[in-house]
Amino acid sequence: MNRTSFRKLLAPSVAVLALSISLTACGAGNESSADSGSDSGSSDSSDTSGGLSGDLNGAGASSQEKAQGAWATGFQGMNDGNVTVNYDPVGSGDGRTNFINGGVSFAGSDSYLNDDEGELSAAKERCNGTDPIEVPAYVSPIAVAFKLDGVDALNLDADTIAQIFDNKITKWNDPAIAEQNPSADLPDQAITPVHRSDDSGTTKNFTDYLGKASESWSYEAEDAFPVKGGEAAEGTSGVISAVSGGNGTIGYADESQVGDLSVVSVKVGEDYVAPSAEGAALVVEASPAAEGRADVDMAVDIDRTTTEAGAYPVVLLSYLIACQTYEDQAEADLVKGYLSYIVSPEGQDAASQEAGSAPLSDSVAEKAKGIVEAISAG
């Protein structure tokens, strides 16, 4: 009697149950076909790193999610669908924490490990005392995008950009802007700078650039945008929609997501350089390694003041963090295979096709390859 009454109370959940049971009958349409294909495929597979199976779990920067999706797809394809790569886009900070406490096998992060809060040492401990591997995953040029009726392109130097985002330059026809853009027809209109309201690696790299390349930016490089006031928006997509929704707006975002917005060419040396994959890769190659790092740690301090022709210094370098050795052979093989695929030309191509990120330059990719191929069990 009690039971029947409960069934009444559970009416909605019973409905869910009925619905889910009817669906449980079959798996996803595409997965079953992948499984059946794998039996015939694996026997004569002679791929370089094929023949793996199992689950590989990672977590980290949400900005890497689309690229990770592309890499997972490629890697799963190489192993005939016997492998599943899961990547939780929980954020760089949480990704590093998860990696350190052993929750995931690798992490994706928008900034390299440091010891400000003991993360580097903790990561070393997690990897049984060996130095953690940090290799670049891709470069992402950060574009300064704007929307201003009648103006399609602007040339600005770091000082001007810094003053715009510091609310020091407030009109589009300010002499500092006009001087650098003699041909542009600049209106007497207020500038609305748009920044990220959430903490992000993009903000950190952008403010780092402003701090190092300009004299008028007095704030530290931080994940949170330091200037009070101004328009703030959540996430890259939020910034893009805020900039395109207003007029006289200017913001910074991953170049791949800028879409129809106009972008600023940034002054490097004597020239103005528009954001591009090549320019971004160039600046990474020219940048010095972070100090006091192990050989397997490719952490780089981006050279924001480079004067090399064609280099674009407003970039974000995204990292993959893993261990040199894993206790479990299967885990080690998966991490090694996956990371090798990521830094391979195919992997870099897949990411740029799917997520629009800039591929690593050959020399950087080569060095990263050497490091990840040494991953072993032990």
Binding site: S62, V90, G93, D94, E117, D198, D199, K228, A232
Partner: protein, 313 residues
């Protein structure tokens, strides 16, 4: 009916056992809730306590925890108040239309649409807020700045994108309307038909009937509905984070682009890239929100009981 006969056969010994089991089960359920809540509280305290006393660099431009949390708290409360002020009358209006004013043919679809809206994910509310609502409100804000700029709320400068705390409050209002409406509607329609007919028979107009027969009967439920809505408004995360142009300090200016963030949205925005120390600070703000909810509920309950006593007299 067969079951009833069986129960009658067993006489008086069995029911007592059934009663004991049933009441114990009910009590256990109540205690589980207490334990769960205590668990959340303990978790917040353990994880968040270190965040109260971090070095100044962890608190951004403020140098103390109090300075960090004050604008967030202000933003949370302000957005929730805006949401309630807008949503409560509207929800009660809809609930009355559905339960008493509209003919059934009209009432059912209205109720259905409102129920559906309770299901719209907050992300979608956020997306809609940015892409549809905010651009529409932007000219309204400019108009307000020009014509009502002397009111401190509308001092401006008006945001050109429309993503202000007023917009966030309105989105929250739309999010909590379905909750308040659904519960109010149920309690309104539970009013005994006899009470209503008695009032009408005495010559009361429909409004007087509502006031005399329906509202006193439904008061407790109406308050509950509002409290549920308030809880949602205080704790809403993603929609506020997406719609609000956050980052400012305490200000009553509702239409500028410099707004205080809310606690929940601040956690969501900054949790992802946070280092362990920063996350402790964020969890500590969560603890503050928890305490605020506690206090708000306490105050509301106090006001309600006092009014009830007054009415009883």
């Amino acid at each position: 009916m067969a079951t009833t006969v069986v129960a009658d056969d067993t006489g008086r010994a069995k029911p007592r056992l059934g009663d004991t089991i049933f009441s114990r089960l009910a009590l256990a359920a109540g205690i589980i809730i207490l334990v769960a809540l205590a668990g959340v509280f303990i978790f917040l305290t353990i994880e968040g306590a270190p965040g109260l006393v971090k070095p100044a660099s962890f608190y951004g431009s403020a140098s103390t925890f109090a300075g960090y949390v004050a604008p967030l708290l202000f933003g949370t409360v302000l957005a929730a108040i805006i949401a309630l002020v807008v949503a409560v009358p509207l929800s009660w209006g809809i609930a009355l239309v559905v339960s008493h004013y509209a003919p059934k043919r009209v009432a059912t679809p209205i109720a259905y649409v409102i129920d559906l809206l309770a299901a719209v994910p907050s992300v979608v509310f956020g997306l809609w807020g940015i892409t549809v609502l905010a651009p529409k409100l932007s000219p309204v804000y400019q108009w307000l700045e020009e014509h009502a700029g002397w009111v401190p709320f509308f001092a401006g400068p008006a945001s050109t994108t429309g993503r202000t705390i007023l917009t966030a409050g309105l989105v929250l209002a739309i999010m909590i309307i379905p909750i308040i409406t659904a519960i109010s509607r149920e309690v309104f329609s539970q009013t005994p038909r006899l009470h209503e007919e008695a009032a009408l028979a005495l010559g009361a107009t429909r409004w007087e009937m509502l006031r005399l027969a329906v509202f006193p009967y439904a008061r407790s439920g109406m308050v509950s509905a509002v409290m549920l809505g308030l809880g949602r408004a205080l704790g809403e995360t993603m929609a506020v984070a997406m719609v609000l142009s956050a980052g400012g300090g305490i200000s009553f200016n509702l239409i500028s682009n410099t707004n205080p963030a809310s606690i929940a949205s601040n956690i969501a925005s900054n949790y992802r890239e946070g280092t362990p120390g920063k996350i402790q600070v964020l969890i500590a703000t969560g603890l503050v929100l928890f305490l605020v909810t506690f206090l708000v509920n306490f105050a509301a309950r106090w006001v309600v009981t006092r009014n009830e006593r007054k009415l009883a007299r």
